[in-house]
Symmetry: D2
Subunit: 342 residues, 4 copies
Amino acid sequence: MKDSIRCAVFGLGRLGRLHAENLASRIKGAKLEWVIDPMPGVAEKIAAGLGARWSPDPDDAFHDDKVDAVIIATPTSTHCEMIRRAAEAGKHIFVEKPLALTMEETEEAILAVSRHRVICQVGFMRRFDPAYAEAKRQIAAGAIGKPIYFKGVSRDPGAPPEQFIGQSGGMFLDMSIHDYDIARFLLGAEVTSVMASGAILVNDFMARYRDVDQSITWLTFDSGAAGDIEGSRNAFYGYDIRGEVMGTEGSIVIGSLKYHDIRILNFKGSRHDIVPAFPERFKDAYELELAHFVDCLITGETPSVGVEDGKRAPRDRPWRRSSPSRRARKSNWSGSSPRFDR
Amino acid sequence: MKDSIRCAVFGLGRLGRLHAENLASRIKGAKLEWVIDPMPGVAEKIAAGLGARWSPDPDDAFHDDKVDAVIIATPTSTHCEMIRRAAEAGKHIFVEKPLALTMEETEEAILAVSRHRVICQVGFMRRFDPAYAEAKRQIAAGAIGKPIYFKGVSRDPGAPPEQFIGQSGGMFLDMSIHDYDIARFLLGAEVTSVMASGAILVNDFMARYRDVDQSITWLTFDSGAAGDIEGSRNAFYGYDIRGEVMGTEGSIVIGSLKYHDIRILNFKGSRHDIVPAFPERFKDAYELELAHFVDCLITGETPSVGVEDGKRAPRDRPWRRSSPSRRARKSNWSGSSPRFDR
Amino acid sequence: MKDSIRCAVFGLGRLGRLHAENLASRIKGAKLEWVIDPMPGVAEKIAAGLGARWSPDPDDAFHDDKVDAVIIATPTSTHCEMIRRAAEAGKHIFVEKPLALTMEETEEAILAVSRHRVICQVGFMRRFDPAYAEAKRQIAAGAIGKPIYFKGVSRDPGAPPEQFIGQSGGMFLDMSIHDYDIARFLLGAEVTSVMASGAILVNDFMARYRDVDQSITWLTFDSGAAGDIEGSRNAFYGYDIRGEVMGTEGSIVIGSLKYHDIRILNFKGSRHDIVPAFPERFKDAYELELAHFVDCLITGETPSVGVEDGKRAPRDRPWRRSSPSRRARKSNWSGSSPRFDR
Amino acid sequence: MKDSIRCAVFGLGRLGRLHAENLASRIKGAKLEWVIDPMPGVAEKIAAGLGARWSPDPDDAFHDDKVDAVIIATPTSTHCEMIRRAAEAGKHIFVEKPLALTMEETEEAILAVSRHRVICQVGFMRRFDPAYAEAKRQIAAGAIGKPIYFKGVSRDPGAPPEQFIGQSGGMFLDMSIHDYDIARFLLGAEVTSVMASGAILVNDFMARYRDVDQSITWLTFDSGAAGDIEGSRNAFYGYDIRGEVMGTEGSIVIGSLKYHDIRILNFKGSRHDIVPAFPERFKDAYELELAHFVDCLITGETPSVGVEDGKRAPRDRPWRRSSPSRRARKSNWSGSSPRFDR
């Protein structure tokens, strides 16, 4: 059993920075050794604030024998290569979702992890969110009988930059993936069929990437359960993540919009503010998933969210067709079955 | 058993008008015969809309043999005389709270009612509000064990006109009286001691009437229970009526601020509107109390809120001292015990 | 302009009885003349309580010259014939949704109404629900910018009797029809495409009627908006009706589950009860829609929910295919496009 | 500017243990050196889990030159001596509320702190609670106009052990002190008058300590504002902390009862769990106040909650009379003015 786990964080976007801060000051047993980012100045500045070393080059961490584990928060298109290199260097891996952009890359990453016998946890942080985790406990304790339906809503407070959409893998892979995973987790079942539709309601530029800004997915599960999942980039009021599980004896509703626990009353009404974005909504979850990862490395246990989960969730999504010809702006819904090539 | 009850409404302020409309179109078994108000034009106009007769003179109703019952919604200072005249005319009586301004008038009114054997219901409409009524049922069913504490909040969205304050009897008699009554109702107990304090926070003119715009009352009950009751004219966001009963096995919270059952979400947050005033908050209660009154007259049963309740509630309040010399604006709290002459 | 509207109610199930009671005691200007139901004893008993005449035979009302209007709350399969006969008798018509079981019958009913120049209002009571009506006003006032997405949830607290399912027209026509109508109403737009899927999660007997107990519909609208609508017979906690409209500047959320406005707190948590069924949830709406109907007959105005709306809403639903061969229990979702024959 | 602050925690009750854990693993810049508790085995066990040294004797920490600061979470009766000894040893001090049991001890502690020029922060953690802090920011930003009324509710889910009551200083000093402080903080004003009453509703043993289990305090402030504060040991449903500030243009409501962000729906209704106790309710606040303390020691700034605040809050409370003769069980409210000797 190790005393502490020395970590390197790759990719210092909003999420990578959050992971680095958590490792530096809030995760017991973790030590932040390296922060790595190719953007000039970024890593240096963050390293100074957190008391870590910095570099633009991942190899500096891969070649550092003191480093036990890497946190991969780089663009999805690079995940597969980073996982492979980390595994070859014998580093344990925490990788942001999605595991990879294609099923081929996903399989390649899984193979690298298993061949080099490193531990790999995928960043499905919702499983660690106190609300989702409590829902899971309640379901397991029989609070709603047998679960039969999952309803998920994931709404962003606006579209990401066009540049991000281009390499995101699309709404289903980038966003609904969280609901595909949490549905499996809460229902304790695997997906047997998927249908989906989408539309561009606001962000015309998405047509260039054959992506949508509003979507619905209908799932069925091997337990006989079903579910629907809404994805949206059009919540012009905040970050809105909700879940429901209906069961044969009751239902569980997860999440609310409230941010600060105050209400302001005036002649216009009663108002509370709304969770603005994912770092605020999942503050505890991001800390708890890293704590779990570090704890597993210390104790030698297997993380509860492994590469198989990383593979299942995107596999359950509607993958993109090769020929998107039938898509058209403003009338761009389409029958869902042709959109899958599972 | 009578077929229908013919009614006259005295006083066509906001509440009298509401009673008249309810009698005319929503109370089964009631018939609105007369609307009476001394203000030129008021009764005439309302009568036209509701298909009733009108007059400035209560005697027109008192002398009308077809009239079974009168609804007294005139200023409190006239209640005692109106009750006496109605009783002498053999009319059944529904009278708005408070029953009278002084204990002497209260006793006189009660005497008139009992001597002429008419039925008299007092307008403690909160007892008929679906929320308070359900709370009563839950307490009776043991949902919170033995009730031990009542907490009441009654806030108006601003001060009434100065003219009203002058003849209202003061905040404790005009406003907190509802909480004194509902506390007795929910706890099933009688008041044994009263303390109170108040302050003028906003409306300086109240000093002229030795009234306050913010107050607290502390009550103890013969069951061993206690309670506190806030009164306020300073809720600059709406009409805010709340109640709580704590018990030895749980508590009940009554009422919320929500008016329309919608929420509007935007970048400023989640907003719902707030009940603006008493007609909206107690719409159903005002209808249900009249339905109960009319039903009692038809069936010959005794109303559940009688003159004794009309006497108890104000008796439980801190009555005004004759010498208010110690009151001073802006530092106007005072020890409560000297303020009572029960 | 007429003084009062004399009405006959056909069909005294839960809804017909509610309409009869409202007409008898709460709708200003209405007079309940007849209650009609073929079941022995039913009409007689209700007539006694409400002071109306009764008969098992609709012709008694059709042939009564005093009758101005009929309220049709009989099984859907009889709507078309009842509308035709009412129109021929010159009676104005209030008919429960859905207008008819097939598009042919729908057209026939519309033709009868227009030929005999009677007024016909369809019972889309949600439009009169204070929450939906306020949402409409807020949208019209620009509170959320341009509406772009409708999300509806309609859940029953269990499946109706098998006998009802057989003649209901199926979940989409019987239940989701309310959401199809209210989506049109709130978005101010017409449906351009429909997809749907469903599953049997609990009630196996539904397979016999090619019906489902859980469903999703995905709609697009001619304004560029889209929407999804869930229907469920599996809400083992109460009657759950919710709506949302997302707009380019915010969103509106309609409805909550709360029934009585109290909360009970104990060591198990904070609990409020849930609206049990449609009469409680839409108490005001059922009264207001009849008040609107009667008011239109008195003033000669056209009801805001006419036969065209009765035709639009079911047309927007996925109609049943003739060959349901591909449906199978427990794996019974199916590609949605084959399920429509619009 | 120091790199890190080495801390010793005195008193390993529920709160001391929480402080120790926070210092050990979540407060950036802090290092937990010692945990001290006289109970055999307690310190040793906690020290092992947190990687700190342990002792039953405070002197081991006072004499350790590496120790920069002490956290005093011992019984209130020992605070004054511990502060004096810590100040003499040159250690900075974080002390739990209340600062001391009497005004004499309070002055003595303040004198020791100022003479030895150490920093002393008092544990009014509510100021660091995100909800109260946001309320303060909103008030400062003018969201409610000028604040005119504070309403506080502090309810414990049952009485503490009799042994604790004996040395707690009574409900006003032990519990309402939080509201006295937060009222000053939120209103930005100092107390000018205090009245209070109390009763024993459930816990008869409190009579032995001249304490109550239910109380109300009425405060006025030098800004012209007023307030009422309820204290209770009788919330048999959970830990219930609420605050409101009314202003001339609106109000702010702080806090809700919800613990986990889920709701369970079944035929009994909609239920969410309730915050069980202070460590759960103020988890973030306890971390943030220590982070502030450590940050001040590193940067040399003065903590925002100093000994003066520790003195003000209890001074504003009703101190115990020497002769409690008039108190009697079950009728134990008393006029409040005689209960003060300020």
